[in-house]
Structure formats: C-alpha cells, structure tokens
C-alpha cells in the first residue's frame, strides 16, 4: 500500500509542472491553452533524446523547458499577431508539434530503462522531485509577486484595465504562455524520466490532467493567496494521481483510464461548481 502512495506521490510531483502551467494560463492569464498537449510530449521527447545521447539530465530538462517555451511563443504569436482564437491557436501548435516531436525522437517511443539517474528507489525520487517542485512553487510565487507578475495577473483579470495602465496584451500573453509551456515541458521530461520512457502520444489529454489537478486542488484548499494556490495545485496533482492509482488498484483496466480520468474530472468540476460558485463557469478568484 505504501508503495502505491509513494508512486502516486512521485507521479503527482512529476506532473506538477503540467498543473502549474495550466494554472498559469487558465487561471492567471484566462487563456485556454491546448498547446500543453503538444508541449508535454515535446518536453518528454526532447529530454529522452538528449539523455540517451549522454547529455546530463539537468541539461536535458533545461532544453525541454526551452523547447516548451518556444512552443508557447508560437501559440501566443498565432493568437496575438494573426488574431486566431485561443483554442484554435493551441490546437494548431499542438497538432504541428506531434510531427516535430516524432521527427525529433525519430521513432514513436524511446525507452529509458537502464539509465542511471543516481536515484535508486522511489524514496530517492520522492526527495529529488519534492525539491524540484518546491523550488518551482517558490520561483513562481516570487515571480507572480513582482511588477511583471502583477501585470500578467491584471491582464488575465481585466485586459481593458491592464492596457489602460500601460500593459501590452501581446507581450504579456507571450511571456505568460511561454512560461507555462516551459513548465509543462519540464513535467514531460520528468514524467519520461520517472516512468522510464518517452512516447510521442504521452501528451494526449494533458490539458485535462492539468485541469483536473487545478480543480481538485482548488476545491479542497480554497486558496486565498497566490503561494497557497500554487501549493494547492501541486497537491491537486498528487491527489489526482492517487485517485487514478487507487482506481487501477481496484481492478480498472488501463484501456479505460482516459474515460475514468474524464469522469473524475467531470465529478471534480461539478463538485467545484457546487462548492465554489463561479469556478465552473470561468469565474476567477485570484
């Protein structure tokens, strides 16, 4: 039982960047960004390709972050410069990214079994992932408390007011979406390392997983401050993983996993709507 908990904890932390990225776009910027489906796999693929070419894991992860940020920039530019609706801009980028990731990986799956990360047990992974994610929360909390963070939050909260106060919507969205997809690609890399392979389809449904984490975390913690909200989102990521682990433990077939994930999220959304008016209808509290 303990190994189930620890496994879910590690997976939740590995996916935490995805949840934080979705929080950043959806809650802070008020931008529904589907790029994450593509940038998650891109991050996983990039990290896997580099590490199998004997590149240092940390460098591989940084490269993954940069590739994700670049993907985010593309979506932001399609949306802000070419005027394409946010959902379509994300779908365009993530569709294109599928081919790019496949080209990069050169095959649909790269196994990472046998690679030595210096982490021998799940407990070692738990420690390493905890440190990474705590660092991420601290960095993001600090960033969102600067003038830049304030501008991004204002932009998501009231774009008219933000512009009237000197904030360029195009620049703000580009920085925010790039940052979010960098986080998502980092999660892709960490997940590939932890599960021992990267797959070109690993990003499928990422947005829903991230959204699930955000909603579960917010429903349970009802955070009032930004650092609390970031921590809640990470907690949500862990709990969401745990729910899935328990479902698998209870005999759920992996084939049905996506369906059950969607149903879990539907439940969480409805629960959120019941407990937090305004959440399910796009209402904003931070």
């Amino acid at each position: 039982m303990f190994s189930l908990w620890l496994g879910a904890y590690n997976q939740g932390l590995a996916y935490a960047g995805l949840a934080l990225g979705v929080y950043l776009t959806l809650r802070v910027l008020n931008f529904a960004d589907i790029t994450v489906d593509g940038s998650f796999a891109l991050g996983g693929g990039m990290a896997a390709v580099l590490i199998t070419n004997n590149i240092n894991p940390a460098v591989a992860l940084i490269a993954a972050v940069l590739s994700g940020a670049l993907a985010g920039c593309v979506t932001a530019l399609i949306h802000t410069r070419l005027g394409v609706n946010d959902l379509f801009a994300g779908i365009l980028t993530s569709t294109g990214l599928y081919s790019i990731t496949l080209r990069l990986m050169d095959r649909s799956n790269i196994p990472l079994i046998g690679l030595d990360f210096g982490l021998d047990s799940d407990a070692d992974w738990a420690l390493a992932l905890s440190l990474v994610v705590l660092g991420l929360i601290a960095l993001l909390a600090l960033l969102l408390a600067t003038d830049l963070g304030l501008a991004l939050r204002a932009l998501g909260n009231n774009p008219t007011m933000a512009r009237a106060n000197g904030v360029s919507g195009a620049k703000g969205l580009t920085i925010g979406i790039a940052l979010a997809n960098g986080l998502v690609a980092l999660a892709g890399g960490l997940v590939a390392f932890y599960q021992g392979f990267a797959d070109v389809t690993m990003g499928l449904g990422s947005l829903i997983l991230g959204l699930g984490a955000v909603i579960v975390g917010e429903s349970i913690c009802r955070p009032r401050t930004i650092p609390m909200a970031l921590a809640a989102v990470v907690l949500g990521s862990i709990l969401f993983r745990l729910m899935i682990a328990i479902a698998l433990q209870l005999g759920l077939e992996p084939v049905d996993l996506k369906l059950v994930t969607a149903l879990l999220l539907l439940g969480a959304l409805t629960l959120g709507r019941l407990r937090l008016p305004g959440l399910a209808d796009g209402g904003r509290r931070l």
């Binding site: 600090l142 960033l143 408390a145 600067t146 003038d147 830049l148 304030l150 501008a151 939050r153 204002a154 909260n157 009231n158 008219t160 007011m161 933000a162 512009r163 009237a164 106060n165 000197g166 904030v167 360029s168 919507g169 620049k171 703000g172 920085i175 904003r284 509290r285 931070l286």
Partner: protein, 264 residues
C-alpha cells in the same frame, strides 16, 4: 502638458452599408492644465474623440501631440504612460481579482514597461507601498485606507470608480481623460467622485478632458466647455462666457443643433 489636435479624421462603416465620416479636419488646442468639459448628444463624437486621443481607436489622418510628443504612432498601452483614463463603467477601470493596493501598484508603475528585467527585482506591493497608498487614500479623505488588501471586486461601483480615478492620476499623467465617469453612479457617489475629480485635477494641474451628459456638471466644473455635434465644435465657452451659461440656454442649443433631448 498641452494637447494639440490637428486635421484629425475618423469615420466608420455603418451597419446598413455606407460610410459615416464623423471627424474630418478636426482641430483642438488645449493648453497645459486646462480642464476642458465636452458635451454633445449621443453620436456627436465625444467618446470617440477621447478614444482617438487614448489610442483605443486609430485615427485615419491628422496629428495628435501631447506637448512636443507625437502620439499618433503609439499604441494605446504606450500612450497610457502619460495619459490617465477613467471609463464610464466602473468594472472597466479596475481588476476585480486584485487588491486595491495591487491595482494602485499597477497604475503607479505604468511609466515603465512591466516586461523589462528591472520589473523582476522587487516584490510589489510591499510594506512601503502599502503605507504610501494608505497615506494617499487618507489624504484624499477616502475611507478605504484600512482596506488596501481587499479585492476590488468586493467594493461598490462608486468605490471602484474612486479607485479608478486615483489610479488614473497616480503616475502624474500629462493628460487625464474622463469618459462619462460618473454616468453609472448614484447621485451621492456622483457628487463624491466629482469632488475627488476636482481635487485631483487641481492638485496635480493635469490637462483634463471630461466628457459628460450632465449639463449641471458641464456648468459647475471645468475651465472651458466644448459642445460637439456630428464631429464638429458647435460651441466653445470659457471664462465669463461659460459663467453666463445656464441649463436652459444649453438645452436650447441642443435643440438648435437638431439633436434629441432624450439623453440630456
């Protein structure tokens, strides 16, 4: 700073087809520190004029200058560094999810782009910011000093509009644009906001353009009164001429300009 508008042109296509040229060769000189009130019926071009100056609408021709600075090539968010704006809807001027202090900080730091490296160097609003904002709100007689950490969304429309007004003047703008900023308020809140407007404009000596539908406001505030009709100046009063005006005489002018009085 003085505002110079020369040869301004702007028109729009109409729903039923065709083109309506609202402004053609429109000129306006507004000297430094002048408080100019603009009236006119719906469709006369009052709000359009403010939007053209603010940059939220693109002028099709002409030159717009604030002092020696040319505005027409700058987008709205760039112009916002020197131009403060309060809009009609109290919901437009503030970010409801951010606290009073956070809204004020955003307004205060507008002289510089938030997307430069220096913006990452400090945490804001910090304790010193909070103290400064509390003192400011107290000095303006606003009972919000102890609520600087309250989300704006929890305030009433009148309170939100007072914060919008404080925000618009916080970075000491060279031009202040007020677009029917009391139209959505009840009479009590309207009186308070106008009192605050008068105090801020006089304290800072900011050149001000105020659009209003209230003839009482037009008579009681400002150094100069402008009446617009179909994108043209049909009345321009200041000093003794303005003091000699009455609500009745203004109503008569609205009538002679063949406009409907329903919105006066």
């Amino acid at each position: 700073m003085s505002l110079h508008i020369e040869g301004l042109a702007w028109g729009h296509s109409q729903p039923g087809g065709g083109w309506r040229q609202l402004f053609k060769d429109f000129n306006l000189e507004c000297p430094t520190a002048q408080f100019l009130v603009v009236i006119g019926s719906n469709g006369s071009g009052k709000s359009t004029l403010l939007n053209l100056v603010a940059g939220t609408l693109p002028a099709q021709a002409g030159s717009l200058k604030l002092g020696e600075r040319s505005l027409q090539k700058l987008s709205d968010y760039r112009r916002a560094r020197w131009i403060g704006r309060v809009m009609q809807n109290p919901l437009d001027g503030t970010a409801p999810g951010l606290s009073i202090a956070e809204n004020l900080r955003l307004a205060e730091s507008r002289r510089h782009s938030p997307f430069r490296l220096q913006s990452l160097l400090g945490i804001h609003p910090n304790q010193a910011d909070l103290r400064r904002y509390q003192e400011l709100l107290e000095s303006l007689g606003l009972p919000l000093a102890d609520r600087v950490n309250t989300p704006i969304g929890q305030l009433s429309g009148g309170q939100r509009q007072t914060i919008s007004l404080v925000m618009a003047t916080l970075a000491e703008p060279q031009l202040l644009l007020l677009d029917e900023h009391t139209a959505a308020l009840d009479p009590k809140a309207e009186a308070l906001v106008m009192q605050l407007t008068e105090r801020l404009v006089r304290r800072l000596g900011t050149t001000t353009l105020m659009v209003t539908h209230s003839l009482e406001q037009a008579l009681n505030h400002g150094d100069r009164l402008l009446m617009l009709h179909e994108g043209q100046v049909v009345g321009d009063w200041s000093g003794a001429d303005k003091a000699a005006l009455s609500v009745a005489s203004l109503r008569e002018l609205y009538g002679s300009a063949k406009v409907q009085l329903s919105d006066v």
